[in-house]
């Protein structure tokens, strides 16, 4: 695994357009604790060229996550993301178990970190239990549509301790974008905090971490 287990990371997701991504990257403080994500909309709009172009915008050595949200044909997608220069790729926890297993194996082959995104999964533990091998990172996630349309839905912070108590994996939390939610994620023992709305606050987020 490329990420270190004892450190906390801030994961900045870029989702809108490449010109905007360039502006956001320019505002970010320089730190090896910041991970940059090429968001799903960017991959679907620009293809793998989004990854190669963002790779050219960030300082060398920056850790890039391709949020490809794989649901099928895992090897094919992992190969594409790795060849484009990603250090990690994502697979959906709601995908068939066969796909997640294949995805994790392919990430091993291509030497990138496997991240499994538990958006809309009732019990992340149940999914992890069925896997042949654990991913490097498990992402606890409340989707953007869910967050905006069902404000009562909470990020299931309690799952962080459950997962870390049973499995030796890093846990990332996505879906909160205020300083309070970042503090809450870290307080609840998350290793990686994913933000996308307020990248200009990255400096203060980084301090919390």
């Amino acid at each position: 695994m490329i990420l270190q287990k004892r450190l906390k990371y801030l994961h900045v997701a870029l989702n809108n357009s490449l010109p905007e991504a360039r502006q956001v990257i320019a505002q970010l403080p320089s730190s090896d604790r910041i991970l940059i994500e090429v968001g799903t909309p960017l991959i679907k709009i620009y293809g793998t060229s989004a990854i190669t172009q963002i790779r050219a915008m960030v300082p060398s050595g920056t850790y890039l996550v391709a949020d490809n949200k794989c649901t099928d044909l895992a090897e094919r997608e992992v190969a594409m993301m790795a060849q484009a220069g990603a250090n990690a790729a994502t697979c959906l926890g709601v995908a068939p178990i066969e796909t997640i297993d294949r995805f994790i194996a392919a990430c091993d082959t291509y030497k990138i970190d496997a991240m499994v995104d538990m958006m809309n999964v009732d019990s992340a533990l149940m999914v992890l239990k069925k896997l042949k091998k654990l991913p490097a990172v498990v992402i606890i996630h409340r989707g953007v549509d869910e967050s905006e349309l069902s404000k009562e839905k909470q990020i299931p912070y309690y799952q962080i301790k459950q997962i870390k108590g049973s499995y030796d994996v890093l846990v990332a939390v996505a879906g909160g974008d205020t300083i309070r939610e970042v503090q809450r994620a870290i307080f609840n023992d998350a290793d990686i905090v994913v933000i996308w709305k307020n990248p200009e606050q990255a400096k203060s987020f980084l301090k919390e971490i």
């Binding site: 793998t48 649901t71 997608e77 995908a95 068939p96 066969e98 958006m119 809309n120 989707g143």
Partner: protein, 215 residues
């Protein structure tokens, strides 16, 4: 937009752009054949790939497999010329609702893909509005590693019985016989990809047989 009284053959493309162009040139011209920009194809080429497919064929399905940000992804694909887009049945209900609403706004067909959904009914029941098409299928990875699981043909009748207005698309079979069987089971769209991926000439023949069959 799709016609509810017709049967369609949907051919999914996942190879490189030059290969896809060559494959499409083998297909008989027919508005009963719809082509799909597969998920890996979209992730490789983005909306640029979709717009090229649109130049080469009439009806193009963008197999987005949307999981979040329903409206953002739909807008991008519609602007690129897609005639339909797909959303995962496994996505949060809010996302599927947003997806269907946005497809309607931009004037494209909405398809909800029930891969790995045990009871598609439960999802359909929760929606504010029905999609144009419900896709019943098994993933490629599942198919290869777990041959015991079957395409749920019995669900076609149940869904159509309850929600008469929705079209059903079934993916999984690859021969002319499989395609006929799919229609026999009352599906409206049969999706194929593997045979075309492995042997484009043979699938062109299948497409020709299909066009004769539904004429």
């Amino acid at each position: 937009m799709l016609n509810k009284r017709e049967k369609y053959l949907q051919i999914a493309f996942n190879r490189s752009l030059p290969e896809v162009q060559a494959m499409i040139s083998l297909l008989p011209r027919s508005d009963k054949i719809i082509i799909e920009a597969g998920t890996p194809f979209i992730k490789q080429y983005g909306t640029y790939g979709v717009s090229l497919l649109k130049n080469w064929w009439g009806y193009v399905v963008a197999d987005l497999k949307c999981m979040d940000r329903g409206s953002r992804e739909v807008t991008a694909m519609a602007a690129a010329g897609a005639s339909a887009a797909t959303c995962l049945g496994l996505a949060p209900i809010e996302t599927i609702n947003e997806f269907i609403r946005e497809c309607e706004t931009v004037g494209i067909d909405s398809m909800v893909d029930m891969m790995n959904v045990e009871f598609p009914f439960e999802i359909l029941q929760k929606l504010k509005k029905l999609p144009t098409v419900v896709v019943l299928h098994r993933g490629v990875d599942e198919n290869e590693l777990n041959k015991g699981r079957q395409i749920p043909h019995e669900q076609i009748h149940r869904i159509k019985g309850t929600y008469g207005n929705v079209l059903i698309s079934v993916a999984g079979g690859e021969s002319t016989r499989d395609v006929v069987r799919t229609y026999f089971n009352d599906a409206d769209i049969a999706v194929i990809w593997r045979s075309f991926y492995d042997a484009p000439n043979q699938t062109a023949q299948l497409a020709q047989d299909f066009v004769k069959l539904v004429r």
